[in-house]
Protein backbone atom coordinates (compact mmCIF):
# COMPACT_ATOMS: atom_id res chain seq x y z
CA UNK A 1 0.00 0.00 0.00
CA UNK A 2 1.18 3.50 -0.70
CA UNK A 3 2.08 6.19 1.78
CA UNK A 4 -0.53 8.25 3.59
CA UNK A 5 -1.13 11.73 2.31
CA UNK A 6 -0.78 14.57 4.76
CA UNK A 7 -3.95 16.61 4.84
CA UNK A 8 -4.32 20.02 6.39
CA UNK A 9 -7.09 20.43 8.96
CA UNK A 10 -9.77 22.58 7.39
CA UNK A 11 -12.38 22.03 10.07
CA UNK A 12 -11.29 24.97 12.19
CA UNK A 13 -11.30 27.72 9.57
CA UNK A 14 -13.69 30.69 9.46
CA UNK A 15 -17.39 29.84 9.09
CA UNK A 16 -18.70 29.56 5.57
CA UNK A 17 -22.22 28.16 5.60
CA UNK A 18 -24.17 27.28 8.72
CA UNK A 19 -27.68 26.10 9.43
CA UNK A 20 -29.86 26.35 12.49
CA UNK A 21 -33.01 24.24 12.55
CA UNK A 22 -33.19 24.18 8.76
CA UNK A 23 -36.42 22.51 7.70
CA UNK A 24 -38.31 21.98 4.47
CA UNK A 25 -41.83 20.65 4.33
CA UNK A 26 -43.44 19.79 0.99
CA UNK A 27 -47.24 19.90 0.81
CA UNK A 28 -49.47 20.54 3.79
CA UNK A 29 -52.02 18.96 6.10
CA UNK A 30 -52.24 15.20 5.99
CA UNK A 31 -50.03 15.11 2.90
CA UNK A 32 -47.18 17.11 4.45
CA UNK A 33 -43.78 15.54 3.85
CA UNK A 34 -40.88 16.81 5.92
CA UNK A 35 -37.98 16.31 3.51
CA UNK A 36 -35.44 18.13 5.71
CA UNK A 37 -36.13 18.15 9.43
CA UNK A 38 -34.44 20.70 11.73
CA UNK A 39 -30.83 20.21 10.74
CA UNK A 40 -27.91 22.14 12.25
CA UNK A 41 -24.48 22.37 10.67
CA UNK A 42 -21.34 24.48 10.40
CA UNK A 43 -19.29 24.22 7.22
CA UNK A 44 -15.91 26.01 7.37
CA UNK A 45 -13.89 27.66 4.64
CA UNK A 46 -11.92 25.10 2.70
CA UNK A 47 -13.66 22.19 4.41
CA UNK A 48 -14.57 19.15 2.32
CA UNK A 49 -17.92 18.03 3.67
CA UNK A 50 -19.83 14.97 2.52
CA UNK A 51 -23.53 14.51 3.12
CA UNK A 52 -24.32 10.81 2.93
CA UNK A 53 -27.72 9.17 2.92
CA UNK A 54 -29.99 6.87 1.00
CA UNK A 55 -32.29 7.88 -1.78
CA UNK A 56 -35.10 10.12 -0.52
CA UNK A 57 -33.30 11.07 2.68
CA UNK A 58 -33.40 14.77 1.80
CA UNK A 59 -29.91 15.42 0.43
CA UNK A 60 -30.98 17.12 -2.79
CA UNK A 61 -33.61 19.19 -0.99
CA UNK A 62 -31.01 20.46 1.49
CA UNK A 63 -28.61 21.33 -1.30
CA UNK A 64 -31.30 23.33 -3.09
CA UNK A 65 -31.92 25.32 0.07
CA UNK A 66 -28.20 25.97 0.47
CA UNK A 67 -28.14 27.26 -3.07
CA UNK A 68 -31.14 29.46 -2.45
CA UNK A 69 -33.21 27.72 -5.11
CA UNK A 70 -35.73 26.52 -2.56
CA UNK A 71 -37.07 28.43 0.46
CA UNK A 72 -36.64 27.06 3.94
CA UNK A 73 -39.94 26.30 5.68
CA UNK A 74 -38.39 26.89 9.09
CA UNK A 75 -34.97 27.72 10.53
CA UNK A 76 -32.16 29.81 9.18
CA UNK A 77 -29.14 29.56 6.91
CA UNK A 78 -26.12 31.68 7.80
CA UNK A 79 -23.39 32.80 5.44
CA UNK A 80 -20.02 33.68 6.95
CA UNK A 81 -21.62 33.72 10.38
CA UNK A 82 -24.38 36.19 9.53
CA UNK A 83 -27.97 35.43 8.48
CA UNK A 84 -27.97 34.91 4.75
CA UNK A 85 -29.98 37.58 2.99
CA UNK A 86 -31.09 36.76 -0.53
CA UNK A 87 -34.37 38.64 -0.37
CA UNK A 88 -33.71 40.84 -3.40
CA UNK A 89 -32.50 39.93 -6.87
CA UNK A 90 -29.32 41.97 -6.40
CA UNK A 91 -28.50 40.25 -3.11
CA UNK A 92 -29.20 36.84 -4.60
CA UNK A 93 -26.90 37.51 -7.54
CA UNK A 94 -24.19 38.62 -5.16
CA UNK A 95 -24.57 35.36 -3.20
CA UNK A 96 -24.51 33.26 -6.36
CA UNK A 97 -21.28 34.88 -7.56
CA UNK A 98 -19.20 32.79 -5.21
CA UNK A 99 -21.15 29.55 -5.32
CA UNK A 100 -21.36 26.91 -8.03
CA UNK A 101 -23.37 23.73 -8.21
CA UNK A 102 -23.10 20.44 -10.02
CA UNK A 103 -26.50 18.84 -10.19
CA UNK A 104 -27.38 15.19 -9.90
CA UNK A 105 -28.65 14.75 -13.44
CA UNK A 106 -25.99 16.09 -15.80
CA UNK A 107 -28.39 16.09 -18.72
CA UNK A 108 -30.77 18.46 -17.00
CA UNK A 109 -28.08 21.08 -16.47
CA UNK A 110 -27.16 22.04 -20.01
CA UNK A 111 -28.76 24.18 -22.59
CA UNK A 112 -29.16 21.62 -25.34
CA UNK A 113 -28.76 24.30 -27.99
CA UNK A 114 -25.32 25.31 -26.79
CA UNK A 115 -22.26 23.57 -28.11
CA UNK A 116 -19.74 22.28 -25.59
CA UNK A 117 -17.11 24.92 -26.30
CA UNK A 118 -19.71 27.61 -25.61
CA UNK A 119 -20.38 26.07 -22.20
CA UNK A 120 -16.70 26.37 -21.30
CA UNK A 121 -16.17 29.75 -22.96
CA UNK A 122 -19.02 31.13 -20.84
CA UNK A 123 -17.10 30.15 -17.73
CA UNK A 124 -14.01 32.04 -18.85
CA UNK A 125 -16.08 35.08 -19.73
CA UNK A 126 -17.85 34.97 -16.38
CA UNK A 127 -14.49 35.09 -14.62
CA UNK A 128 -13.54 38.27 -16.48
CA UNK A 129 -11.58 36.59 -19.26
CA UNK A 130 -13.76 37.94 -22.04
CA UNK A 131 -10.99 39.90 -23.72
CA UNK A 132 -8.31 37.24 -23.58
CA UNK A 133 -6.93 36.14 -26.94
CA UNK A 134 -8.73 33.08 -28.30
CA UNK A 135 -5.59 30.90 -28.15
CA UNK A 136 -5.29 31.63 -24.43
CA UNK A 137 -8.91 30.62 -23.92
CA UNK A 138 -8.37 27.36 -25.80
CA UNK A 139 -5.36 26.69 -23.64
CA UNK A 140 -7.41 27.24 -20.46
CA UNK A 141 -10.24 25.04 -21.69
CA UNK A 142 -7.84 22.30 -22.73
CA UNK A 143 -6.24 22.34 -19.32
CA UNK A 144 -9.58 22.25 -17.47
CA UNK A 145 -10.66 19.28 -19.61
CA UNK A 146 -7.43 17.44 -18.93
CA UNK A 147 -8.10 17.64 -15.16
CA UNK A 148 -11.21 15.52 -15.67
CA UNK A 149 -9.79 13.13 -18.30
CA UNK A 150 -11.51 14.76 -21.26
CA UNK A 151 -9.96 15.75 -24.56
CA UNK A 152 -11.00 19.26 -25.45
CA UNK A 153 -10.22 18.75 -29.13
CA UNK A 154 -12.75 15.91 -29.29
CA UNK A 155 -15.49 17.97 -27.72
CA UNK A 156 -15.48 21.03 -29.91
CA UNK A 157 -18.50 21.35 -32.10
CA UNK A 158 -20.42 18.72 -30.18
CA UNK A 159 -23.74 19.26 -28.47
CA UNK A 160 -24.23 18.06 -24.87
CA UNK A 161 -26.61 15.27 -25.93
CA UNK A 162 -23.85 13.71 -28.01
CA UNK A 163 -21.86 12.90 -24.87
CA UNK A 164 -22.21 9.89 -22.59
CA UNK A 165 -23.40 10.33 -19.01
CA UNK A 166 -19.87 10.02 -17.68
CA UNK A 167 -18.51 12.54 -20.18
CA UNK A 168 -21.25 15.02 -19.25
CA UNK A 169 -20.39 14.71 -15.58
CA UNK A 170 -16.74 15.34 -16.33
CA UNK A 171 -17.65 18.41 -18.34
CA UNK A 172 -19.67 19.75 -15.39
CA UNK A 173 -16.60 19.36 -13.21
CA UNK A 174 -14.29 20.88 -15.84
CA UNK A 175 -16.32 24.09 -15.51
CA UNK A 176 -15.39 24.26 -11.84
CA UNK A 177 -11.68 24.45 -12.73
CA UNK A 178 -12.39 27.52 -14.85
CA UNK A 179 -14.81 29.16 -12.43
CA UNK A 180 -12.88 28.48 -9.18
CA UNK A 181 -15.89 29.29 -6.95
CA UNK A 182 -15.61 29.97 -3.21
CA UNK A 183 -18.19 27.26 -2.55
CA UNK A 184 -18.90 24.16 -4.59
CA UNK A 185 -22.05 22.15 -4.05
CA UNK A 186 -21.87 18.85 -5.90
CA UNK A 187 -24.76 16.35 -5.94
CA UNK A 188 -23.54 12.85 -6.91
CA UNK A 189 -21.11 14.39 -9.44
CA UNK A 190 -19.15 11.25 -10.32
CA UNK A 191 -21.83 8.55 -10.21
CA UNK A 192 -21.36 7.70 -13.90
CA UNK A 193 -17.57 7.96 -14.00
CA UNK A 194 -15.35 4.86 -13.77
CA UNK A 195 -12.91 4.29 -10.94
CA UNK A 196 -9.65 5.33 -12.68
CA UNK A 197 -11.06 8.60 -13.94
CA UNK A 198 -12.82 9.22 -10.67
CA UNK A 199 -9.49 8.99 -8.88
CA UNK A 200 -8.00 11.63 -11.18
CA UNK A 201 -10.97 13.94 -10.73
CA UNK A 202 -11.06 13.63 -6.93
CA UNK A 203 -7.35 14.35 -6.64
CA UNK A 204 -7.71 17.38 -8.90
CA UNK A 205 -10.60 18.68 -6.78
CA UNK A 206 -8.51 18.29 -3.62
CA UNK A 207 -5.66 20.18 -5.29
CA UNK A 208 -7.99 22.97 -6.33
CA UNK A 209 -9.29 23.16 -2.79
CA UNK A 210 -5.75 23.46 -1.43
CA UNK A 211 -4.93 26.12 -4.01
CA UNK A 212 -8.04 28.30 -3.62
CA UNK A 213 -9.51 27.39 -0.23
CA UNK A 214 -12.80 26.45 -1.85
CA UNK A 215 -15.41 24.90 0.46
CA UNK A 216 -16.80 21.70 -1.04
CA UNK A 217 -20.13 20.18 -0.10
CA UNK A 218 -20.32 16.77 -1.66
CA UNK A 219 -23.60 14.88 -1.70
CA UNK A 220 -23.36 11.16 -2.23
CA UNK A 221 -24.70 7.80 -1.25
CA UNK A 222 -21.27 6.23 -1.77
CA UNK A 223 -19.86 5.90 1.71
CA UNK A 224 -16.45 4.64 0.50
CA UNK A 225 -16.06 7.73 -1.64
CA UNK A 226 -17.14 10.02 1.21
CA UNK A 227 -14.65 8.39 3.53
CA UNK A 228 -11.76 8.78 1.13
CA UNK A 229 -12.32 12.37 0.16
CA UNK A 230 -13.89 14.32 2.98
CA UNK A 231 -12.75 16.03 6.14
CA UNK A 232 -16.20 15.85 7.68
CA UNK A 233 -19.12 13.51 7.08
CA UNK A 234 -22.79 14.18 7.87
CA UNK A 235 -25.10 11.14 7.78
CA UNK A 236 -28.68 11.90 6.80
CA UNK A 237 -31.69 9.70 7.47
CA UNK A 238 -35.30 10.77 6.86
CA UNK A 239 -34.35 14.43 6.71
CA UNK A 240 -32.27 14.45 9.93
CA UNK A 241 -28.56 14.33 10.58
CA UNK A 242 -28.25 11.22 12.72
CA UNK A 243 -24.49 11.53 13.06
CA UNK A 244 -21.66 13.81 12.00
CA UNK A 245 -17.99 14.36 12.63
CA UNK A 246 -14.52 13.77 11.23
CA UNK A 247 -14.54 11.17 8.47
CA UNK A 248 -12.35 8.79 10.46
CA UNK A 249 -14.53 8.95 13.54
CA UNK A 250 -17.84 8.52 11.77
CA UNK A 251 -16.82 5.76 9.39
CA UNK A 252 -14.45 3.73 11.53
CA UNK A 253 -16.39 4.15 14.74
CA UNK A 254 -20.03 4.78 13.86
CA UNK A 255 -22.48 5.37 16.71
CA UNK A 256 -25.90 5.70 15.08
CA UNK A 257 -27.59 2.41 14.12
CA UNK A 258 -28.35 3.85 10.69
CA UNK A 259 -24.70 4.64 10.02
CA UNK A 260 -23.76 1.17 11.20
CA UNK A 261 -26.22 -0.41 8.82
CA UNK A 262 -25.07 1.71 5.87
CA UNK A 263 -21.47 0.76 6.47
CA UNK A 264 -22.15 -2.92 7.06
CA UNK A 265 -24.23 -3.17 3.88
CA UNK A 266 -21.53 -1.80 1.57
CA UNK A 267 -19.61 -4.58 -0.19
CA UNK A 268 -15.98 -4.55 0.94
CA UNK A 269 -12.68 -6.05 -0.04
CA UNK A 270 -10.92 -6.98 3.18
CA UNK A 271 -13.90 -7.70 5.36
CA UNK A 272 -16.60 -10.25 4.71
CA UNK A 273 -19.87 -9.00 3.23
CA UNK A 274 -22.39 -10.81 5.36
CA UNK A 275 -25.49 -11.66 3.33
CA UNK A 276 -27.14 -13.49 6.20
CA UNK A 277 -28.20 -10.19 7.78
CA UNK A 278 -30.79 -9.47 5.11
CA UNK A 279 -34.29 -10.88 5.15
CA UNK A 280 -35.68 -11.36 1.65
CA UNK A 281 -39.27 -11.08 2.77
CA UNK A 282 -38.77 -7.50 3.92
CA UNK A 283 -40.57 -5.43 1.28
CA UNK A 284 -39.28 -2.07 2.48
CA UNK A 285 -36.08 -2.43 0.45
Amino acid sequence: MSEMKERKDYTKGPLCLSGRGVTRIFGSGAKANTAVDHVDFDFHEGEFVSIVGESGSGKTTLSKMLLGLLNVSEGEILFQGKPRDISTRAKRNEYWKGIQAIFQDPFASYNIFHKIDAVLLDCINMRGGKNLPYEKKVEMMTEACSFVNLKFAELTNKYPFELSGGQMQRLMIARIFLLKPKILLADEPTSMVDACSRATILDMLLNLRDETGMTIIFITHDIGLAYYISDTVYIMEHGKFVEYGKADEVILNPKAPYTKRLISDVPKIHEEWDLSTVDLSDDQY
Binding site: R198, T200, Y228, D283, Y285
Partner: protein, 342 residues
Amino acid sequence: MGKVMLEVKNLKTKYITRFGEDVYSVDGVSLKIEEGKSLGVAGESGCGKSTLALSMMGYYFPPLHYISGDIIIDGQNISGMDPDKVRTTVLGSEIAYIPQAAMNALNPTMKIIRFLEDVIHAHEPKATKAEIRERAEERFADLGLGKEVLDRHAVELSGGMKQRTVIAVSTILSPKVLIADEPSSALDVTSQKMVIKMMKEMMEKGYIRSMMFITHELPLLYNVTDDIAVMYAGQFVEYGTAKEMVFDPLHPYSHGLMGSILVPEEGTRGMNLTAIPGTPPNLKRPPAGCRFAERCKYATPECFYTAPAEKMFGENSTRMYRCLMSEEALRAKYAEEGGASK
Protein backbone atom coordinates in the same frame (compact mmCIF):
# COMPACT_ATOMS: atom_id res chain seq x y z
CA MET B 1 -14.35 -28.96 -14.56
CA GLY B 2 -18.10 -28.40 -14.75
CA LYS B 3 -20.28 -28.46 -17.80
CA VAL B 4 -19.88 -25.37 -19.96
CA MET B 5 -23.16 -23.46 -20.04
CA LEU B 6 -22.05 -20.63 -22.25
CA GLU B 7 -19.10 -20.22 -24.53
CA VAL B 8 -18.25 -17.26 -26.71
CA LYS B 9 -15.39 -17.49 -29.20
CA ASN B 10 -13.75 -14.45 -30.73
CA LEU B 11 -17.04 -12.57 -31.05
CA LYS B 12 -17.01 -9.38 -33.14
CA THR B 13 -20.01 -7.12 -33.58
CA LYS B 14 -20.63 -3.51 -34.53
CA TYR B 15 -23.19 -0.73 -34.54
CA ILE B 16 -23.93 1.09 -37.76
CA THR B 17 -24.84 4.64 -36.75
CA ARG B 18 -27.42 6.85 -38.40
CA PHE B 19 -24.55 8.49 -40.29
CA GLY B 20 -23.52 5.13 -41.71
CA GLU B 21 -20.38 4.91 -39.56
CA ASP B 22 -19.26 1.63 -38.00
CA VAL B 23 -18.64 1.47 -34.24
CA TYR B 24 -16.67 -1.64 -33.27
CA SER B 25 -18.05 -2.10 -29.76
CA VAL B 26 -17.25 -5.80 -29.30
CA ASP B 27 -14.03 -6.74 -30.99
CA GLY B 28 -12.80 -10.27 -30.38
CA VAL B 29 -14.24 -11.33 -27.03
CA SER B 30 -13.94 -14.94 -25.85
CA LEU B 31 -15.34 -16.32 -22.60
CA LYS B 32 -16.64 -19.44 -20.95
CA ILE B 33 -19.02 -19.87 -18.02
CA GLU B 34 -19.47 -23.25 -16.38
CA GLU B 35 -22.56 -24.60 -14.68
CA GLY B 36 -23.07 -23.03 -11.26
CA LYS B 37 -20.49 -20.31 -11.93
CA SER B 38 -20.67 -16.59 -12.45
CA LEU B 39 -18.56 -14.16 -14.45
CA GLY B 40 -18.37 -10.47 -13.64
CA VAL B 41 -17.60 -7.94 -16.36
CA ALA B 42 -16.14 -4.61 -15.27
CA GLY B 43 -15.13 -1.66 -17.37
CA GLU B 44 -15.77 2.01 -17.80
CA SER B 45 -18.82 3.61 -19.32
CA GLY B 46 -18.96 3.01 -23.08
CA CYS B 47 -16.39 0.18 -23.21
CA GLY B 48 -18.98 -2.20 -24.68
CA LYS B 49 -20.38 -4.14 -21.71
CA SER B 50 -24.04 -3.78 -22.63
CA THR B 51 -23.27 -4.39 -26.30
CA LEU B 52 -21.47 -7.59 -25.35
CA ALA B 53 -24.59 -8.71 -23.48
CA LEU B 54 -26.84 -8.09 -26.47
CA SER B 55 -24.33 -9.68 -28.84
CA MET B 56 -24.01 -12.81 -26.70
CA MET B 57 -27.74 -13.34 -26.89
CA GLY B 58 -27.77 -13.14 -30.66
CA TYR B 59 -29.94 -10.05 -30.38
CA TYR B 60 -28.99 -8.55 -33.73
CA PHE B 61 -31.56 -5.89 -34.44
CA PRO B 62 -30.38 -2.65 -36.10
CA PRO B 63 -28.23 -0.74 -35.38
CA LEU B 64 -26.40 -3.81 -33.93
CA HIS B 65 -24.78 -6.17 -36.46
CA TYR B 66 -23.01 -9.48 -36.17
CA ILE B 67 -19.55 -9.69 -37.81
CA SER B 68 -17.99 -13.02 -36.77
CA GLY B 69 -17.43 -15.48 -33.94
CA ASP B 70 -19.37 -18.21 -32.13
CA ILE B 71 -21.93 -18.20 -29.36
CA ILE B 72 -22.58 -21.64 -27.91
CA ILE B 73 -25.25 -22.13 -25.26
CA ASP B 74 -25.14 -25.54 -23.58
CA GLY B 75 -23.71 -27.09 -26.73
CA GLN B 76 -25.98 -25.31 -29.20
CA ASN B 77 -24.37 -22.78 -31.54
CA ILE B 78 -26.73 -19.85 -32.00
CA SER B 79 -24.44 -17.57 -34.02
CA GLY B 80 -26.03 -16.68 -37.31
CA MET B 81 -29.53 -17.49 -36.04
CA ASP B 82 -32.31 -15.20 -37.27
CA PRO B 83 -32.85 -12.65 -34.48
CA ASP B 84 -36.60 -13.18 -34.59
CA LYS B 85 -36.04 -16.86 -33.95
CA VAL B 86 -33.67 -15.93 -31.11
CA ARG B 87 -36.43 -13.90 -29.57
CA THR B 88 -38.83 -16.85 -29.49
CA THR B 89 -36.51 -19.76 -28.79
CA VAL B 90 -33.51 -18.43 -26.86
CA LEU B 91 -34.53 -15.37 -24.87
CA GLY B 92 -36.07 -16.21 -21.53
CA SER B 93 -35.67 -19.96 -21.75
CA GLU B 94 -31.97 -20.32 -22.64
CA ILE B 95 -30.71 -16.86 -21.68
CA ALA B 96 -32.53 -14.36 -19.51
CA TYR B 97 -31.44 -10.76 -19.78
CA ILE B 98 -31.97 -7.95 -17.30
CA PRO B 99 -31.19 -4.74 -19.14
CA GLN B 100 -29.64 -1.71 -17.49
CA ALA B 101 -32.37 0.32 -15.68
CA ALA B 102 -34.88 -2.47 -16.30
CA MET B 103 -36.92 -1.66 -13.25
CA ASN B 104 -37.79 1.77 -14.58
CA ALA B 105 -39.01 0.27 -17.83
CA LEU B 106 -41.79 -1.79 -16.19
CA ASN B 107 -45.15 -0.58 -17.36
CA PRO B 108 -46.40 0.99 -14.10
CA THR B 109 -50.07 0.24 -14.67
CA MET B 110 -49.76 -3.46 -15.42
CA LYS B 111 -50.12 -6.13 -12.74
CA ILE B 112 -46.98 -8.17 -12.15
CA ILE B 113 -48.76 -11.44 -13.05
CA ARG B 114 -49.35 -10.05 -16.59
CA PHE B 115 -45.59 -9.76 -17.17
CA LEU B 116 -45.23 -13.40 -16.16
CA GLU B 117 -47.98 -14.41 -18.58
CA ASP B 118 -46.13 -12.57 -21.36
CA VAL B 119 -42.83 -14.28 -20.62
CA ILE B 120 -44.31 -17.77 -20.35
CA HIS B 121 -46.65 -17.42 -23.33
CA ALA B 122 -43.77 -16.41 -25.58
CA HIS B 123 -42.41 -19.94 -25.15
CA GLU B 124 -45.43 -21.97 -24.13
CA PRO B 125 -48.40 -20.43 -25.92
CA LYS B 126 -50.76 -23.09 -24.56
CA ALA B 127 -50.04 -22.51 -20.85
CA THR B 128 -53.26 -21.58 -19.04
CA LYS B 129 -53.56 -18.62 -16.70
CA ALA B 130 -54.18 -20.95 -13.78
CA GLU B 131 -50.99 -22.91 -14.50
CA ILE B 132 -49.01 -19.73 -14.81
CA ARG B 133 -50.32 -18.39 -11.54
CA GLU B 134 -49.48 -21.61 -9.78
CA ARG B 135 -45.90 -21.60 -11.06
CA ALA B 136 -45.49 -17.92 -10.31
CA GLU B 137 -46.85 -18.20 -6.77
CA GLU B 138 -44.52 -21.01 -5.97
CA ARG B 139 -41.45 -19.24 -7.34
CA PHE B 140 -42.24 -15.87 -5.77
CA ALA B 141 -42.88 -17.43 -2.38
CA ASP B 142 -39.66 -19.38 -2.60
CA LEU B 143 -37.69 -16.22 -3.37
CA GLY B 144 -39.16 -14.39 -0.40
CA LEU B 145 -41.11 -11.99 -2.58
CA GLY B 146 -44.52 -13.21 -1.46
CA LYS B 147 -47.29 -14.18 -3.83
CA GLU B 148 -49.26 -10.98 -3.03
CA VAL B 149 -46.77 -9.13 -5.22
CA LEU B 150 -48.28 -10.83 -8.29
CA ASP B 151 -51.42 -8.74 -8.02
CA ARG B 152 -49.68 -5.46 -7.39
CA HIS B 153 -48.56 -2.86 -9.91
CA ALA B 154 -44.96 -1.77 -10.44
CA VAL B 155 -45.66 1.71 -9.02
CA GLU B 156 -46.66 0.20 -5.69
CA LEU B 157 -43.27 -1.42 -5.16
CA SER B 158 -40.12 0.08 -3.64
CA GLY B 159 -37.09 0.34 -5.94
CA GLY B 160 -35.44 -2.78 -4.55
CA MET B 161 -38.68 -4.80 -4.67
CA LYS B 162 -39.22 -3.69 -8.25
CA GLN B 163 -35.78 -4.88 -9.26
CA ARG B 164 -36.15 -8.20 -7.45
CA THR B 165 -39.50 -8.65 -9.17
CA VAL B 166 -37.96 -7.94 -12.57
CA ILE B 167 -35.33 -10.60 -11.91
CA ALA B 168 -37.88 -13.16 -10.72
CA VAL B 169 -40.10 -12.52 -13.76
CA SER B 170 -37.24 -12.73 -16.27
CA THR B 171 -36.03 -16.05 -14.88
CA ILE B 172 -39.38 -17.79 -14.45
CA LEU B 173 -38.42 -20.25 -17.21
CA SER B 174 -35.25 -21.29 -15.32
CA PRO B 175 -32.76 -20.28 -18.02
CA LYS B 176 -29.27 -21.67 -18.45
CA VAL B 177 -27.68 -18.24 -18.30
CA LEU B 178 -28.73 -15.02 -16.62
CA ILE B 179 -27.14 -11.83 -17.89
CA ALA B 180 -27.68 -8.95 -15.48
CA ASP B 181 -26.57 -5.49 -16.62
CA GLU B 182 -25.97 -3.18 -13.63
CA PRO B 183 -28.88 -4.76 -11.72
CA SER B 184 -28.23 -2.99 -8.46
CA SER B 185 -26.36 0.19 -9.32
CA ALA B 186 -29.38 2.45 -8.96
CA LEU B 187 -30.28 1.02 -5.56
CA ASP B 188 -29.35 1.91 -2.00
CA VAL B 189 -26.91 -0.38 -0.25
CA THR B 190 -29.46 -2.41 1.68
CA SER B 191 -31.66 -3.01 -1.36
CA GLN B 192 -28.58 -3.89 -3.36
CA LYS B 193 -27.65 -6.50 -0.81
CA MET B 194 -31.08 -8.06 -1.06
CA VAL B 195 -30.91 -8.22 -4.85
CA ILE B 196 -27.58 -9.99 -4.61
CA LYS B 197 -28.76 -12.40 -1.96
CA MET B 198 -31.74 -13.32 -4.10
CA MET B 199 -29.56 -13.93 -7.17
CA LYS B 200 -27.26 -16.17 -5.16
CA GLU B 201 -30.23 -18.16 -3.90
CA MET B 202 -31.54 -18.53 -7.43
CA MET B 203 -28.25 -20.06 -8.43
CA GLU B 204 -28.22 -22.43 -5.43
CA LYS B 205 -31.77 -23.55 -6.12
CA GLY B 206 -31.04 -24.14 -9.80
CA TYR B 207 -33.46 -21.46 -11.06
CA ILE B 208 -30.54 -20.16 -13.08
CA ARG B 209 -27.55 -22.31 -13.97
CA SER B 210 -24.89 -19.69 -14.64
CA MET B 211 -24.62 -15.94 -14.58
CA MET B 212 -22.88 -12.97 -16.12
CA PHE B 213 -22.94 -9.85 -13.98
CA ILE B 214 -22.07 -6.47 -15.49
CA THR B 215 -21.13 -3.48 -13.35
CA HIS B 216 -18.42 -0.89 -12.93
CA GLU B 217 -18.48 -1.37 -9.16
CA LEU B 218 -15.54 -3.59 -8.35
CA PRO B 219 -16.09 -4.26 -4.64
CA LEU B 220 -19.52 -5.56 -5.59
CA LEU B 221 -18.18 -7.90 -8.27
CA TYR B 222 -15.53 -9.12 -5.89
CA ASN B 223 -18.23 -10.25 -3.48
CA VAL B 224 -20.64 -11.64 -6.04
CA THR B 225 -18.92 -13.45 -8.89
CA ASP B 226 -16.44 -16.32 -9.15
CA ASP B 227 -14.47 -14.80 -12.01
CA ILE B 228 -13.94 -11.25 -13.22
CA ALA B 229 -13.15 -9.96 -16.71
CA VAL B 230 -11.99 -6.39 -17.25
CA MET B 231 -13.15 -4.86 -20.52
CA TYR B 232 -11.50 -1.93 -22.27
CA ALA B 233 -12.52 -0.41 -25.61
CA GLY B 234 -14.41 -3.44 -26.91
CA GLN B 235 -12.01 -6.16 -25.72
CA PHE B 236 -11.25 -8.11 -22.58
CA VAL B 237 -7.82 -7.03 -21.36
CA GLU B 238 -7.66 -9.51 -18.49
CA TYR B 239 -9.60 -12.19 -16.69
CA GLY B 240 -9.09 -14.47 -13.73
CA THR B 241 -10.79 -15.41 -10.47
CA ALA B 242 -12.24 -12.54 -8.47
CA LYS B 243 -9.47 -12.88 -5.91
CA GLU B 244 -6.69 -12.93 -8.50
CA MET B 245 -8.11 -9.90 -10.24
CA VAL B 246 -8.48 -7.78 -7.11
CA PHE B 247 -5.28 -8.75 -5.32
CA ASP B 248 -2.99 -9.57 -8.21
CA PRO B 249 -4.05 -7.72 -11.35
CA LEU B 250 -1.56 -7.93 -14.19
CA HIS B 251 -2.67 -5.75 -17.09
CA PRO B 252 -1.78 -2.07 -16.59
CA TYR B 253 -5.44 -1.03 -16.93
CA SER B 254 -6.79 -3.56 -14.43
CA HIS B 255 -3.89 -2.72 -12.17
CA GLY B 256 -5.04 0.90 -12.26
CA LEU B 257 -8.68 0.00 -11.69
CA MET B 258 -7.92 -2.12 -8.65
CA GLY B 259 -5.72 0.66 -7.30
CA SER B 260 -8.64 3.08 -7.27
CA ILE B 261 -11.22 1.02 -5.41
CA LEU B 262 -12.87 3.03 -2.64
CA VAL B 263 -14.33 1.17 0.32
CA PRO B 264 -15.12 2.41 3.83
CA GLU B 265 -12.32 0.37 5.39
CA GLU B 266 -9.42 1.45 7.54
CA GLY B 267 -6.43 2.49 5.48
CA THR B 268 -8.24 3.61 2.34
CA ARG B 269 -8.46 7.20 3.51
CA GLY B 270 -5.31 9.02 2.62
CA MET B 271 -4.32 6.23 0.23
CA ASN B 272 -2.79 7.29 -3.05
CA LEU B 273 -5.27 6.22 -5.69
CA THR B 274 -4.00 5.07 -9.05
CA ALA B 275 -5.22 7.73 -11.42
CA ILE B 276 -4.94 7.04 -15.13
CA PRO B 277 -5.16 10.22 -17.17
CA GLY B 278 -6.77 10.29 -20.59
CA THR B 279 -9.83 8.73 -22.16
CA PRO B 280 -10.46 5.52 -24.09
CA PRO B 281 -10.04 5.54 -27.87
CA ASN B 282 -12.87 6.24 -30.24
CA LEU B 283 -14.42 2.92 -31.28
CA LYS B 284 -15.14 4.24 -34.75
CA ARG B 285 -11.42 4.23 -35.46
CA PRO B 286 -9.82 1.79 -33.02
CA PRO B 287 -6.05 2.22 -32.90
CA ALA B 288 -3.91 -0.22 -34.89
CA GLY B 289 -1.77 -1.12 -31.88
CA CYS B 290 -2.70 -1.65 -28.25
CA ARG B 291 -5.97 0.11 -27.41
CA PHE B 292 -4.62 1.22 -24.07
CA ALA B 293 -1.34 2.58 -25.44
CA GLU B 294 -2.34 6.24 -25.29
CA ARG B 295 -2.97 6.03 -21.55
CA CYS B 296 -0.40 3.43 -20.58
CA LYS B 297 2.67 4.67 -18.75
CA TYR B 298 4.65 1.61 -19.83
CA ALA B 299 3.89 1.99 -23.53
CA THR B 300 6.80 1.55 -25.93
CA PRO B 301 6.78 2.70 -29.57
CA GLU B 302 5.92 -0.85 -30.59
CA CYS B 303 2.69 -0.72 -28.54
CA PHE B 304 1.34 1.89 -30.95
CA TYR B 305 1.46 -0.36 -34.01
CA THR B 306 1.36 -3.96 -32.75
CA ALA B 307 -1.98 -5.11 -31.32
CA PRO B 308 -1.40 -7.48 -28.39
CA ALA B 309 -3.09 -10.89 -28.58
CA GLU B 310 -4.66 -12.72 -25.64
CA LYS B 311 -2.01 -14.56 -23.59
CA MET B 312 -2.75 -17.21 -20.99
CA PHE B 313 -0.80 -17.29 -17.73
CA GLY B 314 -0.98 -18.29 -14.08
CA GLU B 315 -1.24 -21.70 -12.49
CA ASN B 316 -2.77 -24.11 -15.06
CA SER B 317 -2.90 -21.19 -17.53
CA THR B 318 -6.40 -20.19 -16.47
CA ARG B 319 -5.80 -16.46 -16.48
CA MET B 320 -5.62 -14.26 -19.55
CA TYR B 321 -4.13 -10.84 -20.25
CA ARG B 322 -3.67 -8.80 -23.39
CA CYS B 323 -0.40 -6.86 -23.34
CA LEU B 324 2.88 -7.00 -25.24
CA MET B 325 4.94 -7.00 -22.04
CA SER B 326 5.82 -10.26 -20.34
CA GLU B 327 4.33 -11.18 -17.00
CA GLU B 328 7.76 -10.87 -15.35
CA ALA B 329 8.40 -7.42 -16.81
CA LEU B 330 5.03 -6.11 -15.61
CA ARG B 331 5.46 -7.55 -12.14
CA ALA B 332 8.90 -6.00 -11.94
CA LYS B 333 7.43 -2.57 -12.78
CA TYR B 334 4.75 -2.87 -10.11
CA ALA B 335 7.24 -4.05 -7.51
CA GLU B 336 9.52 -1.12 -8.30
CA GLU B 337 6.68 1.41 -7.96
CA GLY B 338 5.25 -0.19 -4.85
CA GLY B 339 8.72 0.00 -3.35
CA ALA B 340 9.26 3.61 -4.33
CA SER B 341 6.12 4.96 -2.69
CA LYS B 342 6.55 3.10 0.60
